[in-house]
């Protein structure tokens, strides 16, 4: 019966993926893409990768969906007023299809042609878990064994924010992203934006904390927090902060900076960049993760908010 379920899931995922590409209407395609993300989360659970499933559910089904729907809505606005909708020509589409097929084929070949049993460092990772004080090997890999990679990823997030902000028109640099919230929002939305964020903050903090010994971690927790912040902003309960604010920028930078500071301290204290002295490994890891979660939440929320569109004067929050 497990095989029947897996088979159905695989067929459904492929069908929805094909459907997403085939749909003409941007809005419908984004909805199908979010559905595809949710199905992928199910697939990750079946493969035993719960941490990845958490990230897929949070980013793939949630944040990416919101990001794309903003894009689809902008395309719709433009199409209605001025530009006719244009599909790329046949040559471009064929090239895109060939490239996608090549990437998918290489990944499939890589997985299917692995020797039996596949080479794996899982045993080594498990053996050294005690030194890190963690129980979840995925978190140990992310924050301890391969901490340099994680640090670089967080720096990439900062670069991404800088890139998004670089789209600001000259006159509104330092201003607020997005249009001013409409004065009257539906009561149901206001209710949800008051009820859900406290729950979301608790769940986000829980996912971060549980990441030490169970699936979870800083990235998933930060994503949940970002979604809650965005919910409050979408309901007009609070205006987006202006991007020129130093406090905001400090929050975005705090995560990578703390990570970097710990890294350099490791050179002095423990003989290598990003090495943790063994007795203090777990507190250091937790401290890094907590600051990282806040930074990730701020960065992801700002990435979704987009470049500034209006000047720094605050809009009156809706009631």
């Amino acid at each position: 019966m497990a095989f029947a379920f897996d088979l159905a899931l695989v067929l459904l995922t492929v069908a929805v993926a094909a459907w997403t590409i085939a749909l003409r209407d941007g809005f419908a395609a984004v909805v199908a893409f979010v559905v595809y993300g949710a199905l992928l989360a199910l697939a990750w659970v079946r493969l035993g990768a719960i941490d990845v499933a958490l990230t897929e559910a949070a980013i793939g089904a949630g944040l990416t969906g919101a990001l794309l729907i903003g894009a689809a809505a902008a395309v719709r606005r433009a199409t209605r007023t001025a530009l006719p909708e244009q599909r790329p020509d046949l040559g471009t589409r064929t090239l895109a299809a060939v490239l996608c097929a090549a990437v998918a084929g290489s990944i499939a070949a890589g997985v299917l042609l692995l020797p039996e049993p596949a080479p794996s460092l899982a045993a080594d990772a498990a053996r050294h878990l005690d030194a890190t004080g963690l129980g979840n090997p995925v978190t140990a890999v992310l924050i301890a064994y391969r901490a340099t990679d994680t640090l670089l990823e967080k720096v990439v997030l900062v670069l991404a924010i800088a890139g998004v902000w670089s789209f600001a028109p000259d006159g509104v640099w330092g201003g607020r992203p997005g249009p001013a919230p409409a004065a009257s929002q539906p009561g149901a939305l206001l209710l949800l934006a008051r009820v859900l964020p406290p729950v979301g903050v608790v769940v986000g903090a829980y996912v971060l904390w549980a990441g030490a010994d169970h699936p979870g971690g800083a990235f998933q927790g930060g994503t949940i927090l970002a979604a809650m912040v965005l919910l409050v902003v979408m309901a007009g309960l609070a205006d987006v902060p202006r991007i020129g604010s130093r406090a905001l920028r400090a929050m975005v930078l705090a995560g990578p900076m703390v990570f970097l500071a710990v890294g350099f301290a490791g050179v002095v204290i423990a003989d290598a960049f990003l090495a943790y002295p063994v007795p203090y490994a777990k507190p250091i890891i937790l401290a890094i993760e907590i600051v990282l979660t806040l930074s990730i939440a701020a960065t992801l929320a700002l990435l979704l908010a987009g470049p500034p569109e209006r000047d720094a004067a605050p809009a009156r929050p809706g009631q």
């Binding site: 159905a8 459907w19 979010v34 499933a53 958490l54 559910a57 949630g62 859900l196 769940v203 919910l231």
Partner: protein
């Protein structure tokens, strides 16, 4: 019981997949949003069933995350459709 739980997960998956036709046909944005909402709830049910079938309590966390983020995505859809 494990077999039954997998069977339940399969049944929910298939019935929810039926509703996905609405994304293709639905004459309005609201219909498409509803199909996504149905899949969100169905996905949560499937996750809970899978978690019980395999005996992994961490899967409930994935369901919790999906519940929160699906609500967030639905709000984003409603706002995007209203423009």
């Amino acid at each position: 019981m494990t077999e039954f739980l997998f069977g339940g997960a399969l049944a929910v998956l298939l019935t929810v997949a039926l509703g996905l036709v609405r994304i293709l046909r639905g004459p309005g944005d609201a219909d498409r949003m509803m199909a996504a909402q149905l899949l969100g709830t169905g996905g949560i049910a499937v996750l809970l069933l899978l978690g019980a079938a395999v005996g992994d309590p961490a899967v409930v966390d994935v369901a919790l995350t999906l519940a929160l983020l699906a609500a967030f995505a639905s709000i984003a859809f409603v706002k995007g459709a209203a423009k």
